[in-house]
């Protein structure tokens, strides 16, 4: 039974993806700061803040100690904050980088080592269409995700020779806690700009992630957006 590790699995997109993987017969381990309050016989939740490298290392070591190999890592955990650049508190910018970029970095490093030992693996990092759109009003968030995309491309080159595929998937606004802070008008404009005027449901986003994660033709270093840019 293949094993996936999904970060931010307690709710929203992470939970939807975890449930999709479980339905397909995967064993899923999840990292979450807060308990998700949901269970499944093949789901194991770990209380981990992905921004804490020691906690990430320790949880990955515990997970692989029994000889289990991680076939798929999805770096989904993230935070968002919508502020004009000049009005973004430095602490908010730092937290965005800590969770979105460093959280991805720490998981990539810890799980990457386990995958190097297994000589195989697949890593999918979640990013956003706001990066190619250079979306105003989200400077710090976009910068943290741009860093994730850059990390993805370098990681793909470094880990590719070890049999590990690293790619990124960019989503538009999905109705989760993460996007509740965005105004309705801005959401509508963004959905129009990415060619999805009806928006994206949680199920659609999870399905897109699931298909990318399992696509045998997935190319290392690639970034796939759930969008149609003009």
């Amino acid at each position: 039974m293949p094993l996936a590790l999904v970060t931010g699995s307690s709710r929203g997109l992470g939970r939807a993806l975890a449930e999709r993987l479980l339905a397909a017969g995967w064993t899923v381990h999840g990292f979450a700061r807060q308990p998700g309050g949901w269970t499944h016989p093949a789901y194991v939740e770990h209380a981990v803040d992905v921004g804490d490298p020691a906690a990430v290392r320790s949880a990955v070591a515990a997970l692989t100690a029994s000889g289990a190999t991680i076939d798929l890592l999805v770096n989904n955990a993230g935070v968002a904050a919508m502020n004009a650049l000049l009005l973004t508190p430095p602490a908010v910018a730092a937290e965005l980088m800590r969770v979105n970029y460093l959280g991805t970095f720490h998981c990539l490093q810890a799980v990457g080592k386990a995958m190097v030992r297994a000589r195989q693996g697949r890593i999918l990092n979640v990013t956003t269409v706001a990066v190619p759109l250079s979306l105003e009003g989200e400077a710090a968030y976009v910068a943290s995700k741009a860093a994730v995309e850059a990390l993805t491309k370098v990681a793909a080159r470094e880990l590719g020779p070890h049999g590990i595929v690293v790619a990124a998937v960019g989503l538009g606004p999905v109705d989760t806690r993460l996007t509740r802070a965005v105004g309705a008008a801005q959401l509508e404009r963004l959905n129009r700009d990415i060619g999805r005027p009806a928006g994206t449901t949680l199920a659609e986003a999870a399905d897109f992630l699931f298909r990318q994660a399992l696509d045998p033709a997935l190319v290392g270093g690639s970034v796939h957006y759930l969008a149609e840019f003009p």
């Binding site: 070591a61 386990a114 190097v116 030992r117 020779p161 070890h162």
Partner: protein, 101 residues
């Protein structure tokens, strides 16, 4: 805890296994002077990464301890602990001693 000799044996055993995997028989005859990276090294950067990742797991299995061999101290040393097999064994012992404090 791991003695210096036991640490060296871990490094050499792992190098030998890598040598078999990569088809590099020189690594199967490695000793403490064997260069791990740089000019005249049997390992390229990919091989070195593999060695470190595998070795961290070997240490965990041998001692029950999780260590990070490529830590900030190691990366900033004038003489890299990854230059030769013997230096890596020294570094392994020192890292284990430090994490047990």
């Amino acid at each position: 805890m791991l003695t210096r000799e036991a640490a060296l044996q871990l490094v050499l055993r792992r190098l030998a296994a890598l040598g078999r995997e990569l088809g590099k028989p020189d690594l199967e005859r490695a000793d403490e002077q064997t260069r791990l990276f740089g000019e005249a090294s049997a390992l390229d950067s990919i091989g070195l990464v593999t060695l470190i990742a595998d070795l961290e797991e070997d240490v965990r299995q041998a001692t029950g301890r999780d260590v990070v061999l490529a830590d900030e101290k190691a990366m900033s040393r004038l003489t890299s602990p990854f230059r030769r097999a013997g230096l890596l064994a020294d570094h392994l012992v020192a890292t284990l001693a430090e994490t047990s404090r």
